[in-house]
């Protein structure tokens, strides 16, 4: 920035010198042709050429001064600015690339998220199907067990009912037989029973 300020000062000095030369040229022109009716010793063309020559010299000096003092600063400033712009553009490009990378990353993640969601849904569906099949199998097995238990219980109840029926029939028959025996057994029968016991007791 100090170089830029030096350049501006040099440019100001050069501009002031040009203005002084121009003022000198106009003063000279006024001195030779300012009084009406006066004749010029050298004529109007020589004055113009002189002015042009001064102007050319002044401009040349101006260019030299500019080239010597202002141009390095301007060039340096422009180079610096160009580098800054280039750096800014590079940073912007890098930021753009990073943003692009982030966008691609997010796009990839979004795609992965969709895939994950699809996979999870599929896993859930398969799990639900497996659970349903398992529950169905367990229910079928439970139903088979219950049916088998019921059949076993029915058979058991039937067998028990048969046993109880036979036992009841036997009890009634024995009871009936006892009544018959009590009613019809005579003393002779009782004596015969004792005699038969005595005769057969050795075989017991």
């Amino acid at each position: 920035m100090s170089a830029l300020r030096d350049s501006i000062r040099c440019a100001g000095a050069a501009a002031g010198l040009v203005l002084v030369n121009v003022a000198v040229a106009f003063a000279s022109e006024a001195a030779h042709g300012g009084a009406p009716g006066a004749e010029a010793h050298q004529g109007p063309d020589s004055a113009a050429w002189l002015t042009l020559g001064f102007s050319f010299v002044n401009f040349t000096i101006f260019v030299i001064l500019i080239r010597k003092y202002a141009w390095p600063a301007i060039s340096s400033s422009l180079s610096s600015r160009r580098r800054e712009v280039a750096d800014a553009m590079a940073a912007a490009e890098q930021a753009r690339q990073e943003a692009e990378a982030i966008r691609r990353d997010y796009a990839g993640k979004e795609a992965a998220l969709d895939e994950t969601r699809r996979r999870m849904l599929e896993e859930l569906r398969l799990g639900a199907v497996a659970d349903r099949d398992k529950l169905l199998k367990e229910a079928e097995a439970a139903a088979r067990r219950m049916r088998a238990d019921a059949e076993r219980q029915a058979e058991h109840d039937l067998a028990r009912a048969r046993r109880e029926l036979r036992a009841e029939a036997a009890r009634l028959a024995a009871e009936l037989a006892e009544k018959e025996v009590r009613a019809k057994l005579t003393d002779a029968d009782r004596a015969r029973l004792v005699r038969e016991f005595v005769e057969g007791v050795a075989r017991q």
């Binding site: 025996v181 009782r190 050795a202």
Partner: protein, 159 residues
Amino acid sequence: MESGDTEQVGAGISELADAVASLDAGSLAPGLLTPAQREQLAVSLVARIGKDSLLGKFVGVLAANDRLEQMPAIRDNFSKLEDAAAGRVRVHVRSATALTDTERSSLRSKFETITGRRVIDTVEVDADLLGGVTVEAEGRVYDGSVRTQLARLERDMAG
């Protein structure tokens, strides 16, 4: 020990066993009575036969060891030993009706043949047998009653 002594001791044991059996069930269980109470009880039990007699000393030993409750079982075992020593066996006959002397004699004779020993029988009338007799000898029951035959019939029918 002479034969007469054995019978005397047997009679004494039987008398003591009856006395013990007449007490409340469990009143002589081991641990219930103090040694002094047991000694007093033993003295009262052997008062008739004398505490210095053979049986009196035996009862004293039972009291000292808190085994007076075993008196009925001792009587039963002594009776068996006495019968075995005398060559006899006791049978218990149950009959639906009273047996005639002839029937009772034939039963005795039959069981003397079976056991090979002289039979001493006791007879009990039990109308619930309906007919026939049962005889218990040497821990075995010979059953010829109508009641048992009806029960067997009922069991066979019931399967």
